[in-house]
Amino acid sequence: MRRALPSVLSVLIALLVSFIAAAFTLGDLGQAASAYLAMLQGAVGDWPRYFETGNPSTVLRPIGEAGTKAALLTLTGLSVAVAFRVGLFNIGAQGQMVVGALAAAFIGAQLQLPSPLHVTLALLAAALLGSCWALLATGLKLWRGVHEVISTIMLNWVAVSLVENWLVVGPLKATASGTNSLSGTAQIHATAELPRLVADYSRLNLGFFIAVALAVAVTVWMQRTRAGFESRAVGLAPKAAEAAGVPVARRVLQAMAVSGALAGLAGGTLILGTELKYPATLASPYGFDGIAIALIGQGHPLGALGTALVFGALRAGGTHMQLFGVHKSFPELIQGLALLLVAAKLFWERLVAKKPAAGGVT
């Protein structure tokens, strides 16, 4: 729990600083307060109104939106966290997500299969392509010594350029039916859609549970298996790990394959759960957000899950702030500020070290 302290404090300070920024920009304290209240209601549901009217959509819709966004943030956050475990900084989650999304959209639209098989296959394809994209950067790192931060940044733009400026507008473009022109790829078949849980009230789908299950699975893998332990050794001291007989290259490749697969799955979940096709541009930078989620979550898979739940909820609430003149990207500002604060490593180390109890942060 001590490890979570810097994160919790950072998020709280970020919320406060953003509030001051909002009040300052809007020039009205009351309006900023209303916007924050709207964000809260959009995040966890408008409970007073629910008790008044008894309409379940007043709470189910916001919670569903929060869960949908949290699922994507969890997956990309896990992706970055897993790469961190072996000491690599995967800035490329965005690119891996883009190629994963495309794979899911392609399988979803081009194949005809019975439902459970179709969804599974589309998700697997997303994970596989995401994995391959991550392994490109890993291969360059292991065998050519190219720093992964640079190579993954480059691969992000390669992915976006190739997918959005070639495939989506070229070979995979949806054929216009009748008079309405279409953007993006063809709509996926109903058999490939991730099932929705409370279909009439919210967009919450199976993706949320997949994300939570994967967070638990990654935790078990990291904490309870030999491979996870060895990966951690590789991340902390690669030379010592190698001397101790850990197959370093294999552990790095393995972790990056998982990392890419998780980011690819985020793309797959986005397409099969809510977008239902690859749109003209994948506007949401969930891959970049994953960096913030993983780091605010202190690189721990469950920390990433918790952070993703908080920011997923805030983001769902963000859309409700528009009424008060606050753009829906406002929660991203809070998230960025929280990351900046978490980044001041030495500050937190000193703060935590001052406390009497033993056992500092590593």
Binding site: T25, R144, I153
Partner: protein, 303 residues
């Protein structure tokens, strides 16, 4: 034919300054040993601040405000990285995320969703003269700055110390020179240049701040720096080359759409990044050109 060349040159030199300034900014910070992937965010700050400032003051003064905005963010980056030993990539990415959201938020709250109101662009000289005419002072500056920075880094005492801070900071400290101060200075200069690059977008390329600025140009500047092997002349050359590539692509789209049937536009857009990757992969392993102490916070207790 001459007209085509003229148009290509014009559009290259129109687009290049922003990228050149930002790439030089990246070089100066990284040569001192501080990774700067926050260039994108600093450019965004510069573009926004310049466009807003130019609403109430002469445009050249707006450019200075843009530079200061970039420098302010850079100071924050330096403070986190040097004082608090933050992971430099994390801090840079955090700055990008904050600026992406903050820019959108302030734009929506204070101006229109798409952009700020139009301002007077910087003056253009010798308009109508082929090849050399029609540019702003920033284009001239962008062509001169790489040589100036090259001179400073390679030929002055300050430049030597700056490089040493990035290669072997302990040696700098042993000389009695403060590593922190050198690094602060380098990162702030980097922010000034990134801010200038951003300002170029909003006062010379366009005449306002648009919501998506600088749309990845900051990352391309980092690519240019790597492609140019962390040297001012190399980085500027790469920036010019990338700009020429995009000028060629845009020119082709409008004048010869047939070419794009054969080579899809997406390939052309991916090309600078693919080239950078290929170049890095082709280098001998371990013979990387990156400064030796790049990314490591200076710890005086380590030898």
């Amino acid at each position: 034919m001459l007209q085509v060349l003229d148009a290509l040159l014009k559009s290259t030199l129109e687009a290049a300054p922003a990228l050149v300034f930002a790439a030089l900014g990246a070089v100066i910070s990284e040569r001192a040993g501080v990774v700067n992937v926050g260039i994108e965010g600093m450019m965004r700050a510069g573009a926004f601040a310049a466009a807003v400032a130019a609403l109430v003051m002469p445009t050249p003064a707006g450019v200075v405000v843009g530079m200061l905005a970039g420098a302010t963010l850079a100071l924050l980056h330096a403070w986190l990285c040097i004082r608090w030993r933050a992971d430099q990539v994390v801090s840079g990415m955090a700055i990008n995320l904050v600026m992406l959201a903050l820019g959108t938020f302030v734009l929506e709250a204070r101006f229109s969703p798409n952009g700020t109101p139009s301002i007077a662009q910087l003056d253009r000289y010798l308009t109508g003269v082929p090849f050399i005419g029609g540019f702003t002072a920033l284009t001239v500056l962008a062509l001169a700055a790489p040589f100036a920075l090259h001179g400073v880094i390679q030929r002055t005492r300050f430049g030597l110390r700056l490089r040493a801070a990035g290669e072997k900071p302990q040696a700098v400290a042993a000389m009695g020179v403060s590593v922190s101060r050198l690094r602060y200075l380098a990162v702030v200069c980097s922010g000034l240049l990134a801010g200038l690059g951003g300002a170029t977008l909003s006062v010379a390329v366009l005449d306002r701040f648009e919501h998506h600025m600088p749309s990845g140009l900051g990352f391309m500047a980092v690519a240019a720096m790597v492609f140019g092997r962390w040297t001012p002349l190399g980085a500027a050359g790469a920036a010019l080359f990338f700009s020429f590539g995009s000028a060629l692509r845009i020119g082709l789209t409008s004048s010869a759409p047939g070419v794009l049937e054969v080579v899809p536009q997406g390939f052309l857009m991916a090309l600078p990044y693919l080239l950078t990757l290929a170049l890095l992969a082709a280098q001998k392993k371990g013979a990387g050109q990156a400064p030796a102490a790049l990314g490591t916070p200076y710890d005086p207790e380590l030898r």
